[in-house]
Symmetry: C2
Subunit: 259 residues, 2 copies
DNA sequence: TAGTGGTCTAGACCACCTC
DNA sequence: AGGTGGTCTAGACCACTAA
């Protein structure tokens, strides 16, 4: 019978499994399944053997099989469908996710020297034209005030990103220069006003032409840059802080992590 | 005692848990823990109660607690350290993932009219200067040939993205104009040469200044654009196709989906 | 040595899907 | 009704860490 033959083939594939190995069983099973999918023993859209079946074949617990398949499902290699089965995904590469990681952490971990200096810092009235759209984003009424500051960060003495940050200024606590340099915007927000705890954020990534920022970033005016806008909200979905990060287009790019 | 007090507080927090609910217990526990972290009941760097402890407090199995914490660990909210404990991550909002979805799918699903036209199509020798770096990317030897074509896509008659695609030309199967327009690059690759099945891809996103592409995109020369480079590999990690997509910077942006 | 997370078991019940 | 994935249990042993 066809199914018997399949079983035999599978049993053969799974015989590679070494339960005494230091390598976790679930990991081995995941790798074997990945290999079978890669070799198109299970083609796109095809159903994998059921979890129970694999557990029997490998003589391991079903929970272990589940953990193995979970590894593949997380990566989008297979898709689970309740009541139906687990299927090899038909990926057509029509989507991609790009991960943006804050440069401070990333670079420091790599052992690079990262420095930050304050370019400007002032307190503005909401009525000022220069903060008009910021006031709207932060949902501020006329008469309220905004602390605006600009930071320039260097990796190995080379400018990398220019950031402009805005927080409603409430006189609650003084803000020290060291706080501005050492703290991320979310942290500074709580430092300044304990009633406002960052809860969610939304980000938008755009391509821009560098103008005044070019000078700070020590790059030619008119060069390309990547702008990431970030709006920070509290638990009640009120905006409590805004930030614009401008990266040098020649230095900064995003890499997709899809498989 | 301090620890007793903490236990009481925690017991109180976990009393929200409803084991009879249709909502999975692990999900409820994850949400409770997430809340405690966001309210800074457990601050950055602080250790969470051990899995065993939480299991006792909630009167549930440790495996269920593990699944709950796994949810948080995947999102980077907490970090597990073997032999030590589980700690609240110190980083706040310092990473973001941006999802890029192919415009054809996205727009058609929204009901917009999407059209595509061929701008150019030619077959080049690898020695040609104009495909020199492409030949390197595709790992081609001198003498081999490359099919190059340019596509311009419109949404509601407005140009949106300009794409340049390159595939090794092997005379295997003829390539029709309709194939070029209707097929994604991965699909075209298998159409043209059945021995080459796309398996993985890598993408890079950059900010650029539009030059010749500006004309096609009906935008001023020197405007910003987003360039996504895509290299497609087969099972053996050999590059089998390359694509550059240039989006109008004023129309196209990426939105973060983090929570 | 005691506590932690990492792995694994051998069951169980459920909701869902297909026949 | 029988098969599937989703959840959950109450144990177990392990490697690692810190005191």
């Amino acid at each position: 019978m066809a199914t018997e033959k399949l079983d035999l083939n599978l049993k053969n594939e799974f015989s590679k499994l070494d339960k005494t190995s230091v390598i976790p069983v679930y990991y081995q099973v995941a790798k074997i399944l990945e290999g079978l999918i890669l070799e198109e023993k299970f083609g796109p859209g095809e159903m994998l053997p059921s979890e129970t079946k694999i557990a029997e074949l490998c003589d391991i617990s079903r929970m272990t099989v589940r953990k193995a398949i979970s590894e593949l499902a997380e990566r989008g290699l297979v898709i689970r469908e309740k009541g139906k089965g687990t299927f090899v995904s038909k990926k057509d590469f029509n989507y991609a996710t790009f991960k943006h990681i804050d440069l401070h952490d990333k670079m420091r971990k790599k052992g690079y020297e990262v420095t930050t200096k304050i370019i400007q810092a002032d307190i503005l009235k909401t009525e000022d034209d220069s903060v008009d759209n910021i006031a709207k984003k932060l949902n501020l009424s006329p008469g309220e005030r905004v602390l605006r500051y600009g930071l320039l960060s260097y990796v190995e003495e080379k400018p990398y990103v220019f950031e402009k940050k805005y927080i409603p200024y409430t006189k609650q606590s003084p803000i020290l220069e060291s706080d501005i340099i050492d703290s991320s915007l979310p942290r500074l927000l709580t430092l300044h006003d304990k009633t406002k705890t960052p809860y969610t954020n939304s980000r938008v990534l755009k391509a821009v032409i560098l103008n005044e920022e070019a000078k700070h970033l020590e790059i030619e005016k008119g060069s390309p840059g990547i702008l990431i806008e970030q709006l920070i909200y509290d638990k009640d979905e009120n905006p409590i802080g805004y930030e614009e990060s401008i990266y040098r287009g020649d230095e900064y790019m995003l890499v997709s992590e899809d498989k």
